[in-house]
Symmetry: C3
Subunit: 153 residues, 3 copies
Amino acid sequence: MDAEAQLSELNLVLPPAPQPAGFYKPIVVIDQAAYLSGHMPILPDGTMMTGRVGDEVDQQHGYQAARQTGLNMLSTLKNHLGSLHRVDRVVKISGMVFAAPDFDQHPAVINGCSELFAQVFGPDRGVGVRSAAGMVSLPAKISVEIEAVFEIK
Amino acid sequence: MDAEAQLSELNLVLPPAPQPAGFYKPIVVIDQAAYLSGHMPILPDGTMMTGRVGDEVDQQHGYQAARQTGLNMLSTLKNHLGSLHRVDRVVKISGMVFAAPDFDQHPAVINGCSELFAQVFGPDRGVGVRSAAGMVSLPAKISVEIEAVFEIK
Amino acid sequence: MDAEAQLSELNLVLPPAPQPAGFYKPIVVIDQAAYLSGHMPILPDGTMMTGRVGDEVDQQHGYQAARQTGLNMLSTLKNHLGSLHRVDRVVKISGMVFAAPDFDQHPAVINGCSELFAQVFGPDRGVGVRSAAGMVSLPAKISVEIEAVFEIK
């Protein structure tokens, strides 16, 4: 599976890579492991997808926010590594959903990111381990925040 | 400490290994590190231990749910590795408790999993680093979700 | 950047190293990776900095709690490794804020820890990837809990 070709075929346009914001880096590479900061659902115009999933916004909004967060992570990877060809596999994603107390469909929300990675890197190497949980609040009221570990080559 | 012998001695019966559910894998092994997805307190009959700890259910229910989650993690390890003999040590567990806002005994809940691992792998190699925190909501209203990293040999 | 000299220059006095509490260890070292448990804002007299950020306590209290948590992490590193000279870099910190549902300044809170690490280890090696999120409750009602991964040499 050629990740760069998949991006083109899916007509996916990566947003600008998130920049380091003072006291953290978007990505740190140690040997073959690329650690990514908790990423946000930033839209191409710089605005964020916000709102609490389960009451302020619906599950589909959360799914789209998770997909947008995934696009930002791909942009960070490409910006740092030069090409997505250097990504060997998804190791882990941790999905944090800004969620109502009675919301219980967190996996369906985080699938927005997981399905994107499976499309781009394939059904084996694009799928890693995962957790999904509900946060009482998130920075800037974003609907999801996702951190990840990738293996690179 | 012989983990397989300990399982027998403690009369522990592992539940069926959790299966991959579409867009994540229960376990990914990179070199000597086994990453486990956020696992759930699934009972042998397939039902989940649910409810918010601190009001809907009590701390002891949470403790049992954490222990049951640990049994599911052991099942994932054994299913993937062939035997628990290949587990060298617990590196880290991250315990997410579906908790009431005024609950403050998260470590006592996650001990349900930690004590199980100490019993099975011994008081040194069965004990790693840990975090424990309260989630406003969790998938399917489960009482706990736990992810982990093990070192294997 | 000499971390031990920086500690002196900043007049930072490390609190006593947190001790293993039964079923977890403060730190586990695997090859070049030092995993730290979720640490707490313990003050030198043994009391904790508590309270929900955004209503019970303000953002500045959260910031100080994050800084105090960072000092406890440095103490754990020094106690285990003998000297902070053995720390090569911050890889990752995960900041959990005991937060009100409408709080949205989690990064500013976790900066209390991030800025400390940048002061002690320098603006490159002291800065890693990061996540920051709001927890509905935390153990003992502490205002923040932070876990981390460091690379050591």
